[in-house]
Amino acid sequence: MRHIISVLVQDHPRVLNRITGLFARRGFNLESLAVGTTHQPGLSRISLVVSGDDRTLEQVEKQLNRLIEVLKVTDHTEPHVERELCLVKVHVGGLEERLAVKDIQEAFRARVVDVAHKSLILELTGDSKKVDSFVEALRPYGILEVMRTGAVAMSRGERVLKLREKKEAV
C-alpha cells in the first residue's frame, strides 16, 4: 500500500544521505522524496512516499526514528492534505492544439507559466493522482518535459508535526 510519511529532521549536512541510504540498505521502496525548510530555523521537513505492507511500514518508521537527527516521523493515515507541484512543457503546433491544451489547463485549474512559439509550460499543484491524470491528458499533444516535485503532506486540523514531547532522563 502507498503511504505518505512526513519526517521532521535537523537540517544537518548529510541528513538526506542518511535517509536515502537507509532506504537503499534495508530494501525499502521509496517512490518520492521532497525536502524543504520549516518555519523553525534548523529544522527541515521531508515527505516520503513509500509502498509496502504494514510490517514494512512499521520498520520504515522505526528505522527512521533510530536516526539521531530525526525528530519526528508521521505516517499520514489520518485526514491530510497532499500536494505535488508539477511543471509540464508541452508541444503546441498550431492554434487548434493551443486551444485544446488550454481546455485541459482550465479543467485542471493549471496555470500557464511560459509561452513560446511552439511550446507552453503549465504548472499544476494537486495530489499525485490529479497530477497523473493531468500528465496523461496532455500526453497526446506531445510532452517535451515533465518535472514533478514528489508529494508533500500535512495533517488537517489541529494536529501538527513537532518535536517529540516525551522526555526521559538518560
Binding site: R14, R18, G21, R55, I68, L71, L163, R164, E168, V170
Partner: protein
Amino acid sequence: MKGAEALLKALEREGVEVIFGHPGGAIMPTYDALYDSPLRHILVRHEQGGVHAATGYARASGRVGVVMATSGPGALNLVTGLADAMMDSTPVVAITGNVPRALIGTDAFQEADVTGVTMPITKHNYLVQDVNDLPRIVKEAFHIASTGRPGPVLIDIPKDVQLAEFTGELDAKLDLPGYKPTLKGHPKQIERALDALEKAERPVLMVGGGAQHAHAELLAFAEKTGLPVITTLMGLGAFPGNHPLWLGMPGMHGTVAANRAIHHADVILALGLRFDDRVTGKVSRFAPHAHTIIHVDIDPAEIGKVVRTHIPIVGDSRLVLKEMLKGAKPLRLAAWWRELEEWRTRYPLRIKPKPHLQSQEVIRAFHEATGGNAIVTTGVGQHQMFAAQFFPVTRPRSFLTSGGLGTMGVGLPFAIGAQIARPGELVLDFDGDGSFQMTLQELATVVKYKLPVKVVILNNGYLGMVRQWQDLFHARRYSEVYLADSNPDFARLAEAYGLKGVRVERKEDLRRGVEAVLNADGPVVAEFKVYHEEGVFPMIPAGGAAEDMIVEDPREKEEVGA
C-alpha cells in the same frame, strides 16, 4: 589551545584512559598533542587491530572503547571493526583525521569520504567543520555510543581543524533533540508479561548480549521464577554457565536441550536479543508452539523485525527485569523441567573419543585447568563454536566473540583490549589457524605492552567451518580451504616476535601443553595440532529448523527431531 588539544581534553572529560590507534599524516596534530597528554595510547600495527582492540576493551569493561586513525587508508581500515561493533552493539568512538577542509572533495592525497563510507556501519558519525564544536561533538559521540542501544560513533576531523585555535568552551551541552532512548518498560506491558509467564506451562527465558549488564537482575529473576535460561552466543556469561537453570546456547550450533526447549515452548521471554538467523533458523518454523513471545529490547526497531511479538517491551533489559522482579513469583514448572532434564542428560555436548587430538578436548582441558576462570576471546569459525560449547563462562563480559558480523581475526585484538581493560585477569584467545592469520601482526602490540595474553591456536590446517559446509553441502569439494601446506610454524613465529611459543601435536602432550601455557609468565602463542576433519555438532543446517538438528557427524550419523 589548538583543536587537537581541546579534543584530547574533551576525551579526558569523558573519562577516557586509553586510546588504541595508529598515526598518520592527517591525524598528526592530534598525535602531537598526545605527546603531552596524560591519555594512554596503545600503538597497534594495523588500524583494524586498533578498532577490534577498542571493541574488546569496551566489551570486557562495559566502557566506551576509543580508537584513532589517520585519513583515507587509516580510516578505511576501521571499516570492518566498526561494522563488527555495530552488529554486536558495542560502544566504540573512532576518531579519524581528514585532509584539510579546503581539500575535502578534491581527491586529495589520502582523502576518502569516511563519514559517507561509515554511515551504514556506525550509530552516528560527525565531520567536524568548526573547531569550537569539538567538545560538544565529543560529548554527544560518547553519549550516543554508550546509551540506548550501544554502538560505534565516528568523529572525522580535518587536519586544519585540529590545528585551528580553539576559542570555545570545553564545557559543552548535548544538542540531541531527536535522541531519547526509552529506558523504562511500560508498566502495563510488564504486567502482561508476568501474567503470561504465570499461565505458561513451558516457558523459556532467552537472553542475548543486551543483557550482559543485567546479570545480577537476571540471576535473581531466573532463580525466583525457576525459568529455564538459554543464552545466545552474545549472551554467554550474562547468566552463569554452570547454573542448573541454564540450558546452553540456542541455534545453529546450540545444545539439543536449548533448541528443543524453544521448539516446544508456549511462552518465550526474549531479553536483549535480536532473533538473529543463526538463532532462529527458518523463521516460519521457529518456536511453532509459542503462543506468546515477549520481547524486551531497548531498540524499538528490533521488536517485530524478525519474529512476531505479542508483548513488546521497549526498555533497558536491566530496568525491565528490575520491575519484573517485583511481581515475579515462583512458577510451577516441575513437569516442564522433567522434559528439559531428560533432553539435557540424554544429549549433552559430547566429545567422542578419537585417537587424534581434538579442538574440543583442548578447550575442555583449558576450562578444567582454569576452573572456567578466564576471559575468553575467539576468532571466527569452528574453534569459536567449540569455545562457546566447551568453555562455559560464569561471569558477564567474559566471552568476547564476533557474533553478528562473524569477523575472522578479532580474537587477538579482542584479547589485547580485554587484557588492558582487566589487567589482572587471565585472557585466553582461542583462535583458528585461519582466523589468527588475519590480524597476527598485533603480536607486536602484545610484546610492546607486555600483555600476558595466551593465544591458543587450534590448528586443523583448514578453514574448518567452510570445509565443514563443503563436506555437508558441496559434496566434499574442498574448494580453497586448505591451509596446512602454507601455514607458518606458529611457535617459531611467536618466538620471532619475542613471545613464548608452545607446540602440542599429540594427544598425550595435551595436559603438559595446557600447563605450559597457563604457567608462563607473560604472553604465549600455543599451537595445538588438532584433527583436521572435525565438524561442529550439533548443527541445524542454514535455513533449517530445530527439527532438522543433526546431533553428530553424519559419518557417525544420529539425527534428532525436535
